[in-house]
């Protein structure tokens, strides 16, 4: 389990996963990490060192918005929300990812 967590994600894939997560609901950084961990059944463990720089980058690109809110436990946390530009980006990335997976599958089947 630990070994798989260290496996690198393909470039750009982290952005896609974060955007996908945020397309359901606004979350804070820790929430995003937990969400990915839970859905991937502990395979995708996003390190904070990649998560927060990625969020800042996407904020500057205008894909996500950040806002300070209170958590249900009454703690101050920065929540990230997907923007229209972010949804467009997510759509493009999903298409690209689907094509890539199809291509990889073909190669794996015939090679």
């Amino acid at each position: 389990m630990e070994a798989s967590a260290k496996r690198d994600l393909l470039p750009g894939m982290l952005d896609m996963l974060i955007l996908k997560t945020l397309s359901v609901q606004a979350l804070h950084g820790y929430g995003i990490a937990q969400h990915l961990l839970r859905l991937s059944q502990d395979v995708i463990r996003v390190e904070e060192g990649s998560l927060y720089p990625a969020l800042q980058r996407m904020r500057q690109k205008g894909w996500v918005k950040a806002e300070w809110r209170q958590t249900p436990n009454n703690q101050r946390a920065r929540y990230y929300e997907i923007t229209t530009a972010g949804r467009r980006q997510l759509g493009e990335q999903e298409d690209g990812f689907a094509q890539l997976m199809a291509a990889v599958r073909k190669v794996m089947r015939h090679a």
Binding site: Y52, K61, W68
Partner: protein, 893 residues
């Protein structure tokens, strides 16, 4: 792009972003601990491990809002500000010097731009739009004029193919409104096609159309300017309202958009009427013939070139049309000079007359002053470079130490450039204040009617130029010392101690001083020439005493234009004016000096062509004219009330005219004939001293006066009053007193003759004022530079001078040593500057009056002044050096 902007915005908020990230990471760790559960210590360990190196995370995220170049820039700016705060004297000198230098240029750019370059508001495709300039030879000299006849405009339209649009236009001061609210306003009389040159849509209603602009008389419609609409009608819906404009009773059909100034943004019209409506309603014979005959030249022509036609082709085409039109005019009026001698041609040139083929003296002077301003900026830059250099040398060891410690030369250069850029930017801000303040004065002198919105702030073109100049000056000045330090050898200054001087720096700085000195000499020579020129203009005998003369113009509206009403009004007005206690004498006149003159063909027995001798101009006046103007009758007599209609025609001629027409004879009793050689004689009864009528610098003052009662072509349009007191103070009360007897809607305007004369002298006054101001500025700047460098050298040579004193050198010889250096620099500057000024003299000569541009006395005065300045600049440091105690100097290290 968007990301870049976001990054830049984040960079400004980077401290807040850092804090927020830290908080975010802290929460992350807390939540990890909570979820890990179990023993707190254990959880903390797990959390820490999972979170990894917090600093590393922070650094990675922080990269998103750090921009290294900006960070370094900020450091350098802070460093520069710290350094500048430590030497306030240096900082203040540089800022003031650059502020004055750049400010002078900003102000001049603003003026020249307005006179020559700025595109007119709303004008579509300005590159293809031109004004037509008419040129012809007159007694060997080429005359360029913008005014022409409506008939010629029609010819141009008919006989050319190069233009896609043509419009005639003219501006008139007409009485607008009725009763108490009637005021003289600038009225644009324009073709309907005029508005099609612009991409302007009426703010209200419409512009007038071709059907309303037809010969012989167009429709009575008017389009208001936005400003006039706002100020006089409060911006209400004025469509359909009637407005009295001169003799026209016009229906308002529309309002031009805000900022629409036609082709005259210096003094825009308040409203526009069709050109044919105005021409057809003047009430003179011209209004029936203006579109068929070539007598009344009063309007300008605007054209748009077709896209595939070059300016040269357009000029050739228009010249052909002009020649054809000239022949037509000659067929109509045989007095027109023949084509062969007149050689008429057309120049298709700038809409702005300042950039046209015959710019006004103001425009030419403005260009000159701009050159002067540029020289002042050069001097200022040289001076600042010198100061910066001296400062860099003072920090020589610091620089060497930093280089030795491994700071890159590039970084040092950048730092020094940034330091001067910071200085220049502050100087640039000061320059805007200078330009705003000085600019108002310059504009008042150069532009006839400065508009309310002519400030510097909010004028993007001027602000842009100021910023460019500022950065240019900053970089230029900042590069000099760093280039010097780049060539230096590292070890020498480290070994040298305070005694180590740099001979290279000294050479460079001395050359800068010589350059400054020579440029100052050029400006001072210019200043002296212009001052002497202005003195000559002022000292010129005008032939009258303008100081206490008031011009009264009467504008007739609402009563018939016929002999009896005009003459009775004239008598009433003269009697009213003469009865006023403040009036010494009063005369009726057809025009006043510098306002207008008339001329016609003269025939004198024994002279083939009087016209070949020069222009003979005349005015029609009443008996008291000469007394009122203060013009002396040299011989013979003035007019009397007996010189009335029916009596033999008489004239008073100027002394020059008497001399040129009847040389070696007595002019009194001579006969000349006006307009034709078959009419009865006009007999000369008096000779008056020469009077300046329109051209101050002219040499031929051929002028004559007629008795207005014998002169039937005009009723004359006003009075000249000689007052007992100052016209400026009494003008208004006199205007009110005369206004009371004006019939119907007619009214009077008053203007001191002195103002008219001063306007005519304006360009000389301007040249003198500007050159003197800039010349003195240059000398002060150069003197400060000289003083600074000499003083600095003395400090550098303290040790050497100390040794000299210790060895028995006398004070006088020390002083001579130091002052000598200063004077040598000044002499070199004088020599170089004199050569430069001499080389430029040919260009400046046309702007001078009765003053040779190569006058040796002027050069001598300037040289003396420069040497005196150099002596004083050197004296202070010299005395200080001589008084210094050799002990202190020698023990210093």
């Amino acid at each position: 792009m968007r990301e870049l902007i976001a990054r830049l915005i984040d960079w400004f908020h980077r401290d807040r972003l850092d804090r927020e990230l830290a908080e975010e990471l802290h929460l992350h760790r807390q939540l990890l601990e909570r979820d890990a559960g179990g023993l707190a210590e254990d959880a903390h360990f797990v959390a820490s491990r999972r979170l990894g190196n917090a600093t590393r995370v922070r650094e990675a995220a922080r990269e998103r809002w750090s921009i290294p170049t900006l960070d370094h820039l900020q450091q350098d700016v802070r460093y520069a500000l710290r350094g500048l705060r430590r030497s306030p004297g240096f900082t203040a000198t540089v800022i003031i010097t650059l502020g004055l230098g750049i400010g002078a240029n900003a102000a001049m750019f603003n003026v020249v731009d307005r006179l020559m370059f700025r595109p007119l508001a709303y004008l579509r495709d300005p590159d293809t739009v031109h004004r037509i300039y008419w040129q012809w030879a007159d007694r060997g000299t080429t005359t360029t004029g913008m005014s022409t006849q409506y008939a010629r405009y029609l010819d141009l339209e008919k006989w050319t193919t190069s233009f896609s649009q043509l419009a005639g236009f003219s501006e008139r001061e007409l009485a607008v409104g009725e009763g108490e609210s009637a005021r003289e306003r600038r009225v644009g009389t324009v073709s309907a096609s005029f508005f099609e040159f612009f991409d302007a849509r009426p703010a209200l209603g419409r512009f007038f159309v071709a059907d309303e602009d037809v010969t012989p008389r167009g429709a009575d419609v008017a389009v208001l300017s936005h400003a006039f609409w706002r100020s006089e009608f409060g911006g209400r819906d004025v469509r359909g309202e009637l407005l009295q404009v001169g003799n026209m009773r016009a229906t308002i059909v529309g309002v031009a958009p805000e900022g629409f100034n036609g082709v005259n943004d210096a003094n825009p019209p308040a409203l526009y009427v069709p050109i044919t409506t105005f021409a057809g309603s003047t009430g003179t014979s011209d209004s029936q013939t203006y579109f068929t005959r070539y007598q009344w030249g009063w309007m300008h022509v605007l054209v748009r070139r077709k896209p595939d036609v070059t300016v040269q082709q357009a000029e050739a085409d228009a010249t052909r049309a002009f020649r054809r039109s000239w022949q037509a005019a000659r067929a109509d009026d045989p007095a027109y000079p023949p084509l062969e001698s007149a050689k008429p041609r057309v120049a298709v040139s700038s809409v702005r007359p300042g950039a046209g083929p015959d710019p006004s003296l103001e425009a030419r002077t403005a260009l000159w002053v701009t050159v002067v301003a540029a020289i002042v900026l050069l001097i200022a830059c040289a001076n600042v470079a010198n100061l910066v250099l001296a400062r860099a040398l003072r920090r020589h060891r610091e620089t060497a130490v930093r280089l030795a410690l491994g700071v890159s030369r590039w970084r040092l250069t950048r730092q020094s450039v940034i330091e001067t850029l910071v200085l220049a930017l502050i100087g640039g801000a000061a320059a805007l204040l200078v330009a705003q303040w000085a600019g108002a004065a310059i504009r008042a002198m150069l532009l006839v009617a400065p508009t309310a919105t002519s400030g510097i702030f909010g004028d993007w073109r001027t602000l842009g130029i100021t910023l460019c100049l500022t950065i240019l000056a900053g970089v230029l000045v900042g590069l000099v010392p760093s280039l010097l330090s780049a060539r230096d050898d590292l070890a020498r200054p480290l070994r040298g101690g305070v005694r180590g001087g740099s001979s290279e720096g000294a050479r460079l700085r001395t050359s800068l001083l010589v350059v400054q000195g020579s440029l100052s000499v050029v400006l001072l020579v210019g200043a002296t020439l212009f001052v002497r020129s202005l003195q000559a203009v002022k000292g010129m005998p005008m032939g009258y005493d303008a100081d206490r003369v008031l011009i009264v113009n009467r504008i007739i509206r609402g009563i018939a234009f016929n002999d009896s009403t005009q003459q009775s009004l004239r008598r009433t007005l003269l009697a009213t004016a003469q009865a006023l206690p403040g009036v010494e004498s009063a005369a009726w006149m057809s025009s006043a000096p510098f306002v207008s003159t008339s001329n016609t063909n003269l025939y004198v027995a024994g002279i083939d062509s009087v016209a070949r001798l020069g222009d003979f101009t005349y005015q029609a006046t009443t008996a008291d004219y000469f007394r009122t103007m203060g013009t002396r009758i040299l011989r013979g007599r003035s007019f009397t009330p007996d010189d009335r209609f029916g009596a033999p025609n008489v004239a008073v001629v100027s002394a020059s005219m008497a001399r040129v027409l009847w040389p070696r004879q007595d002019a009194i009793g001579q006969c000349f004939r006006m307009r034709s050689d078959t009419v009865p004689c006009t007999t000369v009864v008096g000779i008056a001293e020469d009077m300046v009528q329109r051209d101050i610098t002219g040499t031929k003052r051929y002028h004559y006066y007629l008795s207005i009662d014998q002169y039937t072509r005009t009723w004359g349009n006003g009075m000249l009053l000689r007052l007992r007191g100052d016209p400026a103070l009494e003008a208004e009360s006199i205007r009110k007193a005369i206004q009371r007897v004006m019939p119907a809607a007619s009214y009077v305007t008053v203007q001191p003759l002195r103002d008219v004369v001063q306007t005519a002298q304006r360009s000389w006054r301007l040249g003198a004022t500007m050159f003197v101001a800039f010349g003195l500025l240059a000398v002060v700047v150069a003197a400060v530079g000289l003083y600074g460098v000499i003083a600095y050298n003395v400090t550098q040579r303290t040790h050497e001078l100390g040794v000299r004193v210790a060895l028995g050198a006398r004070r006088a010889s020390i002083i001579r040593l130091v002052v000598g250096q200063s004077v040598r620099v000044a002499l070199a500057g004088v020599a170089l500057g004199s050569i430069l000024a001499f080389a430029l003299s040919a260009w400046i000569q046309p702007l001078l009056f009765q003053q040779s541009a190569t006058d040796a006395r002027v050069y001598f005065v300037v040289a003396t002044l420069m040497i005196v300045v150099a002596l004083s600049a050197g004296a202070f440091p010299a005395f200080r050096a001589a008084k210094a105690d050799p002990n202190t100097a020698l023990r210093a290290e």
